[in-house]
């Protein structure tokens, strides 16, 4: 209840200066200031000091208290100014596997001639905060880590950029909402069985590990081919000719299909996806051509980083509302 209320207040505050979507330059409507805990104690101490000055009729005591009160006012402005004009940007986040933290890449741009020390950046949902000092005329990129426990898209939480600099008496803060989601692949099953046999060559795949695969033929190079299989010697002989790719027995004979439905239906879905993820990684590491078959979705066998990303994304998003 309390949390919901607080969140509603923050959402409302965040929207005060217009949409908080990144990229965002902090103008004065977006920056909020309130006394910090230290500031409240300071105010209490000032009241006590004022009473002392009145009681002992200390003219200079009054001067001291009023000076400190003025200092509080000045601190408010300086703290506010420490955030003013900063620009928050986001960079596309890299996909991660469940269990690893999602890393949201952000950039803080200070286009003024003043350094911005002692900034703190926190993201809702992340249990850590970053303390940053940005020099004058400088930009800084950094990552905020959010624990990712489940596959699928993970949306970045609301960013809170705050500072108490210079005196620590006042806290100024502002909100920003990064837009780019981070894709979380299923966590690869850790003790997974070896790759299943390919469609044609039954156990041929297993033999690859022994180094007994045989060179079969050359064909025209495709962008997705692994550089390890480029016929470099042939290319060295005639550099003007198109690149050729060596084809091996084991690969040629069988295309590996990673098929969800071939796994035992008694296994929970998540575990089956985890196993397929692990196998996709294994196949990719082995340089195999592999395809993915999910109910209602098929990805033809191929290899390379782009293919791997496609397969893993399909596994990550399978069965989730888009």
């Amino acid at each position: 209840m309390w949390h919901a209320l607080r969140d509603a207040v923050r959402r409302w505050l965040a929207s005060l200066g217009g949409s908080p979507a990144l990229p965002l330059t902090l103008d004065r409507r977006r920056i909020f200031v309130l006394p910090s805990a230290v500031g409240l104690v300071w105010g209490g101490a000032l009241v006590a000091m004022l009473l002392t000055a009145i009681n002992y009729t200390l003219s200079l005591g009054f001067a001291l208290v009023f000076m400190l009160a003025g200092l509080g006012q000045v601190a408010l402005l300086h703290t506010f100014r420490n955030l003013l004009g900063l620009t928050l940007k986001e960079l596309p986040p890299e996909p991660v596997f469940a269990g690893q933290p999602a890393r949201f890449a952000l950039a803080l741009d200070n286009a003024s001639s003043r350094a911005r020390p002692a900034l703190r950046l926190a993201m809702a949902g992340s249990d850590e905060a970053l303390d940053i000092d940005v020099a004058a005329d400088a930009a800084l990129t950094f990552h905020l880590r959010v624990p990712a426990t489940r596959r699928g898209w993970i949306a970045p939480g609301r960013l809170t950029l705050s500072t108490r600099y210079p005196l620590g008496l006042i806290r100024a803060w502002s909100y920003g909402q990064p837009q780019q989601r981070c894709l979380v692949y299923p966590q690869p099953e850790s003790d997974r069985p070896p790759l299943p046999p390919g469609d044609a060559g039954t156990l041929g795949l297993r033999a690859r590990g022994d180094g007994s695969d045989e060179f079969a033929a050359l064909r025209a190079h495709r962008a997705a081919d692994s550089p390890r299989h480029v016929a470099w010697k042939a290319w060295a002989r005639s550099p003007d000719a198109p690149l050729l790719t060596k084809q091996f027995d084991g690969q040629d004979g069988g295309e590996l299909w990673l098929d969800l439905e071939r796994l035992s239906a008694t296994m929970p879905l998540e575990q089956r996806l985890a196993r397929l993820t692990g196998w996709a990684l294994d196949a990719d590491a082995a340089g195999l051509r592999y395809g993915l078959a999910l109910p209602g979705q098929r990805i033809a066998p191929d290899r390379g980083p782009a293919h791997r990303a496609r397969v893993l994304a399909a596994l990550a998003l399978f069965g989730l509302p888009s």
Partner: protein, 665 residues
Amino acid sequence: MMFRRPAKTAPDLPPLGAQRTGWLLAVAASALLPHADHLPGWLGAVTLLLFTWRLAQWKRGWPGASGWIRTLLIIAGCAGISLTFGRLFGREPGVALLALLLVLKLHELKSVRDGHTVVLLGYFMLLAAFTYSQTPAMAALLFAAMGVITAALIALTGPPAAPLALLRQSGWMLAQALPFMLVLFVLFPRVPGPLWGLPLDAHGARTGLSDSMEPGSISQLSQSGEIAFRARFDREAPPARDLYWRGPVLTEFDGRTWRQGTAARRTGGTPPHPVIGPRSGYEVTLEAHGKNWLFALETVAALPPGARVSDDWQVLSGDVVRNRRRDHFESVLAARPGIEEWSAHIDAARRLPRDGNPRARALAAELRRQSGSDAATVDALLRLFRREAFVYTLTPPLLPGADGIDAFLFDTRRGFCEHYAGAFVFLARAAGLPARVVTGYQGGERNSVDSFIVVRQSDAHAWAEVWLPAEGWRRVDPTAAILPSRVERGLADLAAGEPVPFVARADLGWLRDLRHRWEAANNAWNQWVLSYDQQRQRELLSRLGMAQPDWQTMTAWMAALCGVMAGALTLWALRRAPGRDALARAWAGLDRALAPAGLGRAAWEGPLDYAERVAAARPDLAADLRAACTLYADARYGGAPPAPAAREIRARSRALRRHRTPHRR
């Protein structure tokens, strides 16, 4: 550029680094130093020891004080303080306790929160220092200390920085706070203190007159150049010889010591009867002296509100004078009070101890017989002092306890005003005249700079009063009979070799001039800064044109002026904040040059990625764009100088603007 990933478990408790610890040591030093001269000796030593220990721990890596040592020290310290002062509350023990806490807290610095505690304690110590001294020098010292403490506060919040940079920033912030301070100081409605009963030690022991007199008690004061009060006359000041500032009147005599009588304890609201004659008006700014006496010229005719006059014509205030105060009086200098006097007071002024000083009694009886009338007896007594070889000296020989007056009159004949006044009153009483000793101040020095008359403790004086039936109380100053210049020029003309107080010396004219200037400045400080109270505030504000300076108006003005200043400061801050530097402007210019051709940069795109994307689409623009983007990336992220890069980017942007639409040419 710094990058810290703090542990989440205690976000508000980051550990203190060595630099911050150093700053907190500086805070403690600058907060404790102003108290060095009034902490009890043992506590001063303990404080110094603990501070040095902590310093060694910081600098040399000595082991720190463990928890049980600290606990032991705090218990022992509290016990010591309550033993020294007899209690734990009040100003003196409070300051001692604060000092102990501050220095012990230095041994327990774990987190930034501890640092904030030290800083707040430091500010409190500064305030406490003002209860001891509020001189301009002290004010300057304490405001410098405030700069150090504020710099420490910045060090606690910000990243590590050079000490000088922090001091500069703290000074800059304090300079910005100064206008707020001035407005609040002038306009904050002053409440007359105290709000609650002050402990007895609220104001320390003061030098000044006392309510009794024995040989030596006033000559002690004569060595003090301390200012007792200042006076300013509404019109021309009377000559110094007419300025008798009346203090305690001493009627009772026990053979050695003179004390106040019953008349001193009987008070009426106004002078006992009207005083007729030309009045002199003047304002007296009295220093705190811990008694309820006010000093007015003889004979006082009009009193400030709240003041009373005793039956022996001493002016008293309602409370003990704990703070400097300003009062306006009117006096009739020529008037003699007491034509109608209570017979009890007259009888008290005749009383002598049953025996002692037989030679003086015999002399008085002889003089009385020769003179016949009361008035003639007074003249004869004065003639005696003038004729005989009496010497006025600040260092009289010690007198015996019994028959002291005989010894003075017939043997030593060397004395100070209290000897002469006492001997005169004794003789007068022995001759059957009602007489009493009056103590107070005589004369005063006119400051040529601000025309204030400055009366010091060295102007303390004792004279006599004789009651004559048709006349009332007549002032008789036997000291003036011996050394007339004493009442005309002060102590400056004492015989050579006498230890004249430095401030009373007549030679060294330039020095005197310098001293006058210094004292005038001090007086202005006292009058306008330290004594800025409710009355002064109203005076000043109505002079500034505020029609009705009550607290509502003052608060309204205060709020308005603070608002205006905060607004001005905000404008100043905003003016500078959004200013994008030359590099950013040039970069934005590049975007404007290419955006119309649909080649604008996406918000998420880095400069180099952007250059490559456009270069692929428009090879004709690739060279310029790549160059511009590389320049920008190098200047923004790589630390290359931004100004030449900005110039070059602007040049490339112009070229790109010309070529962005090749098909139309």
